[in-house]
Amino acid sequence: MNMRPDPTFHATAQLAMQAPVENYGFTVMLSPDGKKSDGIAVVDLNPDSKTYGKIVHKVVVPNKGDEFHHFGWNACSSALSPLTGHAFVERRYLIVPGIRSSRIYIIDVKNPLKAKIHKTIEPEELFAKTGYSRPHTIHCGPEGIYVSTLGGGGEDGTDGPPGIFIMDCETFEIIGRYEMDRGKQDKHYDFWWNLPQDYMVSSEWGLPPQFENGIVPEDLLSNKYGHSIHFWDLRRRKNIQTIDFGKNYQMALEIRPAHDPSKSYGFCGVVVDTNNLQGAIFTWWRDKNGKWKSKKTITIDPVPADPDDLPDLLKGFGAVPPLVTDIDLSLDDKYLYVACWGLGEMHQYDVTDPMKPVLAGKVELGGIVAHHKHPNGKDFAFGPQMVEVSRDGKRVYWTNSLYSTWDDQFYPDDEGGQMVMARVGDDGGFELDKKFYVNFPKGYRSHQIRLEGGDCSTDSFCYPNV
């Protein structure tokens, strides 16, 4: 317990952008076949350090087969909420769930070079207290840490719908389910909110049998993955509106609200439009009457390809779909980064006008057919996937793996884990940094990145920019 608020908590997104830059990154190390234990790699991000761009410490867990994916902080700028009057928790622990095992590790990173496991929550406890399984997205908010799950109860996670549960942000005890009235929500993926405006938005991937053993092509072609987003009255815990993008918009994944809480809009990425294989971004907003609306504001076209160059899954289509698998919004709400994991591209859109995004930059790296090399001459396995932007918006980091079994279907010949970084120009545009290329230890792939002191998909700000 501190006497003053943690110096990494900021009242506004603007103040967070002016804060000192990150010295360390924390990145998932994933053993795709479960032969090794998963872990968190601590990467040195200080360009003045001798070990810049190297993995300087690893926290490897004792179990195997957890499948690390997303993770997050125990506390963030949301602690400065005027409603709590109690901003004295520390940003110190990473909450790291295994989406295959449903086990949750609490990792103490107070000293990044000596990061260690602080507590382990066994799957049985999660099942007993929530009836949910396969924990995924972490956000720190009112009453504690919110965790979304991808599965309900039972062996295959289909006994009841998945949802969100709440954990205590100091003792890490699981408190229980969040929802009081979930309405139409029966699948889950990501969620985020606007704390002063008191709304939450959640999205849908698919149920565990639709992803755990690989993508199910029949389900995709019959539009059985998620294609809706849900708006919630955050404190009344009630689903107030569901927007269906349309059945063909398969897999509505990342939710990125504007960071300035006086704005009432945000974005959601859709992996694939089954009508034409396009990737899509929807902008969602609240109109004057309080109704939520959405509109497709970005489309990315598939690229025709020789079936011989395509994996079995895509041979029949004769094209590479972009596969929009992750998006991230800079803290000034200006640039939206869009990972096109299939094409092997990272796009940067100027979303100053959220209804009219303009492509401002593009980096090519990896790809199912393109196989773009890194400017340092090395290969990049798979394509750009989990993307994280530095608080000041000047550095964009990303890794390459989507999900163990899906990597193997879309990229049957690739293997390995890489983390790279691109520098953003003063007037937009971005380029890969030749010197920054982290190759993960053999047998590991990489996934989500968290930056020391917070990043662009962690902190929720409670006061508007001035």
Binding site: L83, L195, R235, S262, P464
Partner: protein, 223 residues
Amino acid sequence: MPLDDTSLTALWWAVIFSGIYHGINPGMGWPLAVSAGLMERKHLALPKALGMLAAGHLLAMLAILLPFSVITTLLIWETGLRIGAGLIVIAMGVYLLINRKHPKFLARVHPTRLALWSFLAAMAHGAGLMLVPIYLGICAVDGGEVGHLAASSLMSGNIINALFVALVHTLAMTLAGGVIATIIYFWLGLKFLSKTWFNLDAIWALSLILVGIFGIYSAHAGH
């Protein structure tokens, strides 16, 4: 008696100081006034929010003080009551000192329902209890002067005292919180929001214990 005049003045100053003390504590709501001004993008929202916070705080003070004002009249054994009240206040302080977890239900209140939030925050932190020994002290001094009056007029005197104590305290609190909120809103900016924010939890709990001890001591001393 001059002695009683002095202690009465001191007690009223204690009411004012406790108000200032509650006002500067961010846990009693001044950050909400800053946030309201910024979210609604109009200056008027700030005093409006302060007004709602004050209303909630005033209600919370009265909810604690009024029952005591009734009991003081009905119970003859006044010293015992004041010692009992002091013990309750000490117990609340000890509880807050041991249980350092923040009352989470406060985060469940909708951000625009400021009066309700302020009422609940004051109740949860024992803000009203902190006033009880001071209030009972004031009643004792007053009661001493009007020792032979009928119970009914004594009670109405006590109720008026309770109203005044709550009003003066809330006014001081709103002014103190309002000054901080206004300075941050108009001049210093939000960077100072986190800089001026100190963890008062332990000091707050100790204050309750201290006020409780004072209550018991002054009951014994006969004031």
